[in-house]
C-alpha cells in the first residue's frame, strides 16, 4: 500500500480508524521506504523490523477488539539518545557499543501506553553534541533536500527520517536547538517543550538543566498530538512540573485574531542569510494577515547567550558523561588499573567534539575558575530568563529565524567549532530561559533548501506557539513539499 509513509500522524490515525489500512501496512511501507532511501539518507542507525511488525499486528488485533487509543499501532522513529526497553541506545557513540536499554524512558512509556510502536533509532551527533550530525560515530546522515548537505543536528537523523518519508514522525531532543535547528534544515516541524513539561527520565543526559524531549513531525497538529501524549509531571524526574496539561489540539485555530507577537530586534541582525531573513519577514506578514498584532521587543542579553550556553552545557556534560567508564556497560578497553582502564576506554570511546566539551566543562568548573565561568554564566542565564519574562509581559509569542542560514554543506564547518557554535545563536536562548519553541517551515532558500520560522512562547504556554504555528502553516503550503529522492 504505497504512499502511507508520507502521511501525517493524524491522517494515519484517521485511516486506521476507518479501516483503510492496518498498522502492519504502515510498518511494511515504512520499512520499504527505509530500504529504498536510507542508503542515501542514513537517517537510521538501527531498525526494529521484526519486533515492530509483531507489535503492529498486535495493535491491529486490538483495534478489531475496539481499542481506540489515539496512537494505537502508529510507528515512530526515536533519536538514539532515548532509552527504549530492549533496544540499543548508543547515543551516536562508540562508547555505548553493545549497550541495550533495560528500561523505557518515561516519554517512551507514555507513548507506548497510547499504543505507539517504536520502529527504529535515528542518528545523531554523539551525545547530542553538535549541529550537523557529523559528530556521530555511527555513520553519515544526509539532508534529504540536498544529499551534499547536513540535516542539522543533533537530532539530524530524526529530521531526515521525517523529511525523507522514512518515518511518520520522530522524537528528538533539544538542549540548545537540537530539535528546532534540524527541523528547520529539513523542512519539518520541531517542538521544544518548556523545561519540565516532558519528563527527562530515560533521556541520556547531555546538559541536565537544558535538555528536553520534543516531537519532530510533518505538521503542527502532529506535534501537538505527540506532546499531548508525553507531557506532564513524572515523579521520577524532579525537574518535571506539576502544571496541568491543556488539550493542545483545542488551541489549533485558523486565525491569529487577538494574538500579540513580538519581534526581537536582536534576532534580526547582520550575518543572517538574506534569503532566510526574507522568508521569515514574509512569514511575519502572513501572520499579520491572519490577524496577529506585532510589537517590537528587545532581548538585550542575547549577545551573551552562546558563551553562557557553552559554559553551562559543557559543565553539566563533563559530569553527566563521567559514568561512561567501561565498568558497568558499553565498551571497555582494558588497562593496568581502573584509572588506566578509564583513560583508555574514554580515549577510544569518545569522539573529538565530546572530548572538547568534556575538557571545556571540566575547566569551567575547576577550582579557581568556577566563579569566573560557571557562576557568572548562571548569573547571565538569570538575566536572559528575565529578558524573556519582560518580553512576554507584552506579547503571547515571539517570532524569529531558527538558524541564520540554511543547511551547511557536509564538512563545511567541521573544522571550525566556533563558527558552528555561533549557528546556535537563535535557539540556545529558549533552553537557557526554559521556555518553549517551535520551528515550522516558512520557505526555501537558494537551491531549494528549507527555511524555518521559530515561534517562542512563555514557559508552559505551548498552546500559544502551537496556535501561531498551526494558523501560519495552514495558510501556507511549505510543509506539504517533499524532497525528490528518486533521482
Amino acid at each position: 500500500m504505497a504512499g502511507l509513509s508520507n502521511l501525517t500522524l493524524h491522517e494515519t490515525a484517521d485511516r486506521l480508524a476507518r479501516g483503510e489500512c492496518t498498522s502492519e501496512d504502515l510498518v511494511r511501507d515504512l520499512v520499504a521506504a527505509i530500504e529504498q532511501r536510507d542508503g542515501k539518507v542514513g537517517a537510521y542507525v538501527w531498525v526494529n523490523v521484526e519486533d515492530a511488525l509483531a507489535r503492529a499486528r498486535e495493535a491491529d488485533a486490538a483495534r478489531l477488539g475496539g481499542d481506540r487509543r489515539p496512537l494505537l499501532g502508529i510507528p515512530l522513529a526515536v533519536k538514539d539518545v532515548l532509552n527504549v526497553k530492549d533496544q540499543p541506545c548508543a547515543c551516536g557513540s562508540r562508547i555505548l557499543k553493545g549497550y541495550v536499554s533495560p528500561y523505557d524512558a518515561t516519554a517512551i512509556a507514555r507513548l507506548r501506553e497510547q499504543g505507539a510502536v517504536f520502529l527504529g533509532r535515528t542518528n545523531m551527533d554523539e551525545f547530542a553534541m553538535g549541529s550537523t550530525t557529523e559528530n556521530s560515530a555511527l555513520g553519515v546522515t544526509r539532508n534529504p533536500w540536498d544529499l551534499a548537505r547536513v540535516p542539522g543536528g543533533s537530532s539530524g537523523g530524526s529530521a531526515a527520517a521525517v523529511a525523507a518519508g522514512e518515518a511518520l514522525a520522530a522524537l528528538g531532543t533539544d538542549t540548545g536547538g537540537s530539535v528546532r535547528q534540524p527541523a528547520s534544515f529539513c523542512g519539518c516541524v520541531g517542538l521544544k517543550p518548556s523545561y519540565g513539561r516532558v519528563s527527562r527520565f530515560g533521556l541520556t543526559a547531555y546538559a541536565s538543566s537544558l535538555d528536553q524531549i520534543g516531537p519532530m513531525t510533518r505538521d503542527v497538529r502532529d506535534a501537538a498530538m505527540l506532546l499531548q501524549a508525553m507531557a506532564g509531571r513524572d515523579p521520577r524526574d524532579s525537574s518535571s512540573v506539576e502544571i496541568p496539561v491543556p488539550d493542545y489540539s483545542a488551541s489549533l485555530r485558523n486565525d491569529l485574531n487577538g494574538m500579540k507577537l513580538g519581534l526581537p530586534r536582536e534576532y534580526f541582525i547582520a550575518g543572517t542569510d538574506p534569503e532566510v531573513e526574507r522568508a521569515v519577514r514574509a512569514a511575519v506578514e502572513q501572520c499579520r494577515a491572519l490577524g496577529a498584532e506585532f510589537v517590537e521587543i528587545s532581548l538585550p542579553h542575547t549577545p551573551y547567550a552562546i558563551a553562557t550556553y557553552y559554559v553551562v552545557a559543557t559543565a553539566e556534560a563533563s559530569a553527566n558523561l563521567a559514568r561512561f567508564d567501561g565498568v558497568r556497560y558499553g565498551a571497555r578497553v582494558e588497562g593496568e588499573d581502573p584509572i588506566d582502564m578509564y583513560g583508555k576506554t574514554r580515549a577510544a570511546g569518545f569522539g573529538r567534539e565530546v572530548k572538547r566539551r568534556i575538557i571545556l566543562g571540566t575547566y569551567v568548573l575547576s577550582s579557581g575558575y568556577y566563579d569566573a565561568y560557571y557562576l557568572r554564566a548562571q548569573k547571565v542565564r538569570t538575566l536572559i530568563r528575565g529578558d524573556f519574562e519582560k518580553a512576554f509581559a507584552g506579547c503571547d509569542a515571539i517570532l524569529t529565524p531558527v538558524v541564520p542560514t540554511p543547511a551547511y554543506r557536509i564538512g563545511e564547518k567541521a573544522d571550525d567549532p566556533l563558527q558552528m557554535y555561533l549557528g546556535d545563536i537563535f535557539t540556545v536562548t529558549a533552553n537557557l530561559a526554559g521556555i518553549c519553541g517551535l520551528s515550522v517551515p516558512c520557505g526555501f532558500a537558494g537551491a531549494g533548501l528549507p527555511v524555518g520560522l521559530q515561534i517562542l512562547g512563555p514557559a508552559f504556554k505551548e498552546e500559544n506557539i502551537l496556535r501561531v504555528g498551526y494558523a501560519y502553516e495552514q495558510s501556507t503550503e511549505w510543509h506539504l513539499r517533499k524532497p525528490n529522492l528518486e533521482s
Binding site: 563521567a322 556497560y329 581502573p338
Partner: protein, 475 residues
Amino acid sequence: MKYLPTIGLEIHVQLKTRSKIFCGCPNEPGGEPNTHVCPVCLGYPGTLPNVNGEAIRLTVLTGLMIGCRINPYSKFDRKNYFYPDMPKNYQISQYDKPLCLGGSVEIEVEGRKKAVGITRIHLEEDVGKSMHFGSSSGVDFNRAGAPLMEIVTEPDIETPEEAQAFLLALRQILLYGGVSDCNLEQGNLRCDVNCSVRPEGQSELGTKIEIKNMNTFKGVFHALKHELPRQEEVLRSGGAIRQETRRWDDEKGVTEAMRSKEYAHDYRYFPEPDLMPVVLPPETVEQWRATLPELPAKRRDRLVTEYGLPDYDAGVLVADKAVADFFEETARASGNPKAASNWVMTDVLRCLGEKQTELKDAKLTSVSLAGLIRLVDQKVINVPTARELFSELFEKGGDPTELVKTKGLAQVSDTGALEAYADEAIAENPGPVADYRAGKKPALQFLVGQIMKKSRGKANPRMVQELLQRKLGGA
C-alpha cells in the same frame, strides 16, 4: 615542650530508611552482590535521582537533637571524581548549603563536662564496594545509593579519650532518634579523623593529617593514641608535618601514609541540576521537632526524679535506649521501680552480655519480668526461685505465673508445713542448735538452709527464720 593536639571528626552515618536515597531499591547493604540494584543506582544512561524524603527527615531530626540550625533552603551538589565503586563517577552530596548547621554534643571525660561543636550535617549517597579476587576485581553496588549522613565537628576535641567519648555520645543520640542502627560491624558508622599538634603557646594550628575510614571507636582511639605522639615526635626532632591522608592499620597498630594532599582532588562541586533545592518550611521542621525523643541526658534526670533511682543507676540504664525503655516498661508494669532497676542492671545486662545479644532479640519481655517481680513482691516465690525462673524466661520466654504453677515453685508459706520442716531440722542438728543457743548467731542460717533444702527451695526464708527464732528462743 608540651604539644597540644587538635582533633576534628567527620562521621558518616548510614540512615535507617527502607529504600535508598535516590531510588526505590531496598536500603539493605549486604546480601548477594548486586541484588539490591536498579538502573538508577547503577548510574545507567538517562536515569535520574529522586530524593527520599525520609532521609531528609532523619537528617533534620539528627540536627534537631543536637541543636543545629535547620537550613530553610538547602541543595544538592555533584562531587566529581572517578572511582570504580561510584556508578556515576560523581557523588550527589551537599556542598555549600547543607541541611543542618551548628549545634553541639555534650561529653564527659574524667568528670569534666564539655560541649563539642558541630559544624554541619549534610546528606549524600553511599558508594559501592570494590572487591578484589586474585587477578580480577569486582564491584558490589548493593550499598551504592544508601543514604549517608555526614556529621562534621568543630576542631574542639583535644584527646583520644574525648574523641571516643564524643563518638559514644553521638551514637547514643542517633540510636535514641532511631536515625541509624549504628551497627559498627556493618559499617553503619564510619569516621574520618583530622588531627594536628602544635606547641603550647602557639595559637596557629599545626598541619592537618587526615586518617580515613575507620569503623570502630576503638580504632579511632588507638589511631589517635598512635598518631598524635608520632606528629609530636616529628616536630620534636625538627621535622615538619606534611599535609596528607593516612590509613590506620589495626593489626600493626600504626598509621600509614595513603596519598599526599598536594595531589588533592579538585572535586569541581556544582549544583545538582537533576534535583530541586530542598525547601523546609518552618511548619514542617516544627512538626518534626514535636516527634523528637527524650534525649539521654534529660532522661537520666527524669529517671532520678520520677523513679527515685540513684544517679549512677539512671546513667547505666539510659546508656542504651532499648534498655531504658525496657526498664521503664518493667517499672510501670510491676509497680516496683527499685526492683525493676535492680533486675535490669544486674541480671538483664549480665545475660545480654553473656549471650552477646540485644534486648530486641531476647525472649524476655518487660511484661514477663514485671510478672516475676510481682510474684516476689506478693511472696508467691522467693528470690532464689525468681533467679532460676529468670534464666528460663530470658532464654525461652513464657509467662512466669504459669511457670510457677506448672513447676510447683510456689513458695511454702504454710506455717503447718514449715513447722514440720523446722521440727525435723532441730531434731537432726543438735550441734548447731546448741551453738545458736550459746549465742552463735550464724548457726541459725545453717538451720534455715536445712529447711530450705527440705522444701526444695520453696520455703519462705523470712518465715523460716522467724519460726526458728521463735522455736529456739532468743532474737
